[in-house]
C-alpha cells in the first residue's frame, strides 16, 4: 500500500503505514502546517481530513511563506 507525494520539487513514493491515514497526518509528519499548504488528491482539491488510498497521488502546495 503506497501513494505518490508531490511537494515542491520532490516526487516520492511513500508507504501507507496505518489504516485511516489522512492528509492531515501526512502534513504533520512532514513538519508542515495545514495553515500554509493546500492539498490535492489525484489532481482535485480536498480537505485535510481526506483519507489517503493505495495508488493515490497527493500533492501539497505551499501557499504561505514565512518572513
Amino acid at each position: 500500500m503506497s501513494f505518490t507525494l508531490k511537494y515542491t520539487d520532490i516526487t516520492e513514493i511513500r508507504e501507507i503505514t496505518k489504516q485511516n491515514y489522512t492528509i492531515k497526518e501526512l502534513i504533520n509528519e512532514l513538519g508542515l502546517s495545514s495553515q500554509t499548504v493546500v492539498s490535492k488528491q489525484n489532481g482535485e482539491l480536498v480537505i485535510e481530513d481526506t483519507l489517503i488510498n493505495d495508488g493515490d497521488e497527493i500533492q501539497l502546495i505551499q501557499i504561505i511563506y514565512g518572513g
Binding site: 493546500v38 482539491l45 480536498v46 480537505i47 502546495i61 501557499i63 504561505i64 511563506y65 514565512g66 518572513g67
Partner: protein, 306 residues
Amino acid sequence: MKCTKCGNPNVIIKKEQSGQYLCKDCFIESIEKKVIKTIRKEKLLDKGDKVLVALSGGKDSVTTLEILNTFRDLNIIDICAVTVDEGIDNYRQDGVDIAVRHAERLGIEHKVVSLKDTYGITLDEIMQKPNHKGSCSYCGVFRRTIINKAAREMGATKIATGHNLDDEVQAIMMNYLEGNTDNLTKLGAKTESKAEEFTVKIKPLREIPEREIGLYVVAKELEVHFASCPYAQQSFRGEVSDVINKLSESHPTIKYSTLRGYDKIKNALKDDFKKDYAHGRCEKCGEPAANKLCKACSFIEELRGD
C-alpha cells in the same frame, strides 16, 4: 461531508470559524461575494474611479486584480497596475513575468518600475552595503514611493493593495503591543491623506484570511508567484503572526474579532491620536515630505555616503 450550501460531496474547505464545508464553486463564490461586500460596506470604490493595483504577481495582488476586474467588466471602474522590480536575483523576475501576463490577459494598462531605474541601485546592491538598515526598511519605503508616483502618472484615483485579514490583524496587534498609537490611526480599509499627492489607498481583501486567498488562486487556477523572498527574516511581525495563528487554533474567530474591535475604536483613536504632519516637498525629488528630504531620498543619500 457535503457542501453546506449545495450538497456537492467534493468539499475543498472546512471553515473552522463557521463550521461550514464548501465545494470549489461555492467557495470561490463566497470569497468574491465577501470582497464585494467589503467594497460596498467601506465605500472603497466610486463610479468612474481609475484603480491602480499594486501587482507583485503574488496570490494577494492577483486576487485583488481578479475581483476588482469584475467591477471593470461592469464599466463601474477602470483598472491599471504597477509592478515594482526591487532587483532581487532569482526571485523577483518570476513575479514580474506573471504580473505582465495577467495585465495582458485582462488588457489593462501596466508598467514595471525598477528600483535600479528610479534610484540607481537594486535591493541586492543595497544589501551588499556594510551599514544597511535591513532589506524590509528600504523595500517598504521605495516601493511605497514608486507606487504613489505611478498612481499620479497614470491618473489613478485609488491604489488597491492585497492586504489580507492576517496582514491587518498583525498590524493592529504589532502597533498595539509597541504602543504605536500614531500607526494605529492609519490602519483600516481605506486610508486617505491630507496631502493630495497621496492617492487614497484601499484594501479590498482585508476580511479574507490569507490561507483562503491561497486556496482561491489554486481553485481558480490563477497563475501566481508562490515563493519566499530571500531577504525575509524573522521579524516582530512574524512572531506576532505565530502567536495569533496559535490562538486561532482554539479560537477560530479571533482574527475577525480583533479586526471588528479595531474598526469600532478606530474613530476614537483618530480623534485622540491622529497627528498632523507638516506637508512640505522633498528638496531633491519634489515628493511629499515631512522633512527636507523624503524618506526615499534620505535613504539614497545615506547609501551613497557609505
